[in-house]
Amino acid sequence: MSAGRVGSSSRRVGGVDRVTGRQTYVADVRLDDVLEARLVSLDCARARIVAIDTSEARRVPGVRFVMTAADLPQPVPRFGPQFQDRPVIATGETTYHGEPVAAVAAETKDAAEAAARLVRVEYEELPAVSTLAAALDPAAPLVQDPSLRPGDPLATTNVLREHRYGWGDVDAATADLVVEGSYAFPMITHFAIEPHGFLAAPDGDGIVCWSSIQHPYLLQKMLARILGLPLARVRVIAPDPGGGFGGKQNPKLEPLVAFMALRLGRPVRLILTLDQTFQAVRRTSTEVRVRSGFRRDGTLVFQDIAADYLIGAYADIADRVVSKGSYPACGPYRVPAARIVARAILSNTTPATAFRGFGNPQVNWAVESTLDEGARRLGLDPVEVRLRNLARPGEAFIPGDTPADGDWAEAVRRAAERIGWRAPLPAGHGRGLALGIKSGPTTGLSYSTVRLLADGSVVVYAGTSDMGQGARTVFAQIAADELGAPLEWVTVVMGDTAVVPYDQQTSASRSTVLMGNAVLAACRDVQSQLRSMAARIHEVDPEAIAVEHGVVRLPDREAPILEVLKAGLGRLGGELIGNGESRKEDEPGHPLNGRPAFYELNCTAVEASVDPGTGEVTIHRHVTVSDVGRAINPLQVRMQDEGAAIMGLGHTLMEHVILDETGRIRNLGAIDYRIPTSLDLPGELVSDMVENADGPGPYGAKGMSEGALLCVAPAVAAAVHQAAGVVIHDLPLAPERVWQALQELRAGPPAEAEAAAEPEAVGAGGVR
């Protein structure tokens, strides 16, 4: 009765609540006696706080508390996933636009809002750094007080960390052609449709905290440390986030709300506005300089890559974004010599954090674009150049690291075929193709418990957060398949540290692999107990019995699991409880502290045209092909790939956080910051996948939710070049930027105009 559960496009588990309005997000949690909180921040990037007058605010009827740093333990506790640098609330100084300096809790939202506006902050605006150039100026003010970075030789600079990787001898390498360029990737905001939300309440002699967080167990640890409570007294409830994309990985304002709730002895809720969410998280902006050496036949000789990532005022997880994102910067290719230098540079801007792709799209944009430039100058087909250099299955393309874990050429061939790479192009159209690679998780720990109940229904416990990627459905399918229950008879419990066993985190597209393996192991534990049960009942050797896919294979016949279960449990009933663990230890000495569990590999190909009058880029066809190992739910794979592809079109064509010269965000909110809508879709969006069951997850699955975003930008830029002759090194390829490039091209020397008419021949003249 369970055949086909894995590999079928079952309806989303939890989907019904999402189409009826019953799904409870943090903002929908109903509690008695809850106070509403509002934040107070300053309209500048950096300031010294002189004084905060809360007297007027406290007079507003219904206001119960106006909290500032003075109300917290001193020194104000700090926290962070990598560095403990972020204070619970600004203390002494604000360091980025929107950093809260005070918080109000009141009986109603109206009272909290009114009071928040009446908090008078006397402050002195200080010079802020909000660009790489400003941050790196030797005379620049320091974003972080050196006392926050004891023993750090870089503490008196705005460079948080510098990461160096490489192999071979770049300087000794001789190339027939060296292509050099500098590429900029803009600051992007996550724009999950659910703004971040937090709710905390005293709970006996501990605390319970609801959060839209992706990592409830990380939050539990952090709150326990900061509040001086044992883990068992800190309960984190993490309802399914309404979109995460990395932005909800790490704790932000939970400690602030927790301190208020404990102080007041009442629940306190803080739901951010979308504007405040913009001021809470963003993707690192980046400038990448690339020097690529080629032989005449397109073979790569060396890669010399320097990437400067602009991170925010607090590190959050951004330094890991820099190190992990830049480490595979050379892409999925064999390169005899490589030098990669990546720096995380602090600035007085929104703390940068994880964002789908985790630092890879930034370097990918530069390196893949340089590959195209090399192919053009050598007069070679860019697809051929990629195939020539592409790592073969099992090849250690990063020396000493996880070898290529898929038939990546298959993804390229399929993308080329589906875009019609060799077919004649309509006038004014161009095509581009690019590859992206991202390392999967380098460490991991997931536990799962699976209960097979007396009637054959199943409860799965998994501490993964289902933020839309469909983890709940994947786990239910695994359990249904293994234990022979209809999918509708499987319940997946998530998001409550008091109930669900530990999971390290929901990030790096890990959950299908790491938690999936834990769920599978827990199911196998139940199966093993069923085997013992069947052996006892039928008085046969357990070795002669197999349990798989919902069936107990006895020596003489097959029996459904339920038959054995009922007989085995007897009159008292009960249940079978299985436990599973999935662990990936760290590897000290490895540059990333561990080799990746798998790679996400994607090939994207697009056909585009450019409106010569407006510079607007139209995507006629967009093909995205990911190597997923095995699709446990093919429809969900498609949803993730197409969603990632469109999100990639966002930063490629339109998205861009704009700062003014003092570091304030100019386009704060939905009116001025545009993301793709239903009117911004490619004319045709084709997603395909390579399935060779060669991943480390259940049934050969790999993680796959980020791949389709990685290389959208270089694929589009290559198509734009072929369509219109312009080479642009700065994202987004917004109409005004493309139009400007068209004007420059028209005004340029005649050689360039000729090159535009014959794109294959464009050379260095096209480089900015």
Binding site: Q23, I193, G468, T677
Partner: protein, 175 residues
């Protein structure tokens, strides 16, 4: 500019000291007639979520750009964050909670699930209501009609292809 801000502050301070003005309104929400005493500055979204506990309608941008709070007001898809509750006096309002029929999913809701249109789900109530309004006025929409009708409903999971497929499938099912 500073003068204006100070004047606004003064007005605000005065407003805080004064009891908030309330007005009585009558609205029909999901078929049920309700008489409500609402603060004059509260939006329909505030009243649906906070006064009526209908939290299926979502709050995101609060400036009428994202569509997460889309509801039907007298049959038209509207952003509930842009309508004062008092403006809805006498109106017939349908929210996502009003789409299912006696606990059975409507064809539109079922189509969203079957097509894989639902990911994180936060935008989905708004998408469903915008789609409902479209199908009510155009039972046989084209792809372009769907894209245009739902252009004001952002989906960061970017399930637009599947949402469009779902609306077209629902149109087919309803014919």
């Amino acid at each position: 500019m500073t003068d204006t801000l100070e004047r606004l502050d003064a007005i605000e301070a005065a407003a805080i000291d004064a009891p908030t003005d309330h007005l009585s309104i009558e609205v029909t929400v999901n078929g049920r007639r309700r008489r409500l005493d609402v603060a004059v500055h509260h939006t329909l979204l505030d009243v649906l979520r906070d006064d009526l506990g209908l939290t299926g309608t979502k709050e995101c941008c609060d400036v009428g750009e994202c569509g997460a709070c889309t509801v039907l007001v007298d049959g038209r898809a509207m952003n509930a964050c842009l309508i004062l509750a008092v403006e809805a006096d006498g109106a017939v309002v349908t929210t996502v909670e009003g789409l299912a029929d006696d606990g059975r999913l409507s064809a539109l809701q079922a189509a969203f699930l079957d097509a894989g249109a639902v990911q994180c789900g936060f935008c989905i109530p708004g998408q469903l209501m915008a789609a409902r309004a479209l199908l009510d006025r155009e039972p046989d929409p084209t792809v372009a009609d769907v894209h245009a009708a739902l252009a004001g409903n952002l989906c960061r999971c970017a399930g637009y292809e599947q949402i469009t497929e779902a609306v077209l499938a629902a149109a087919e099912a309803e014919r």
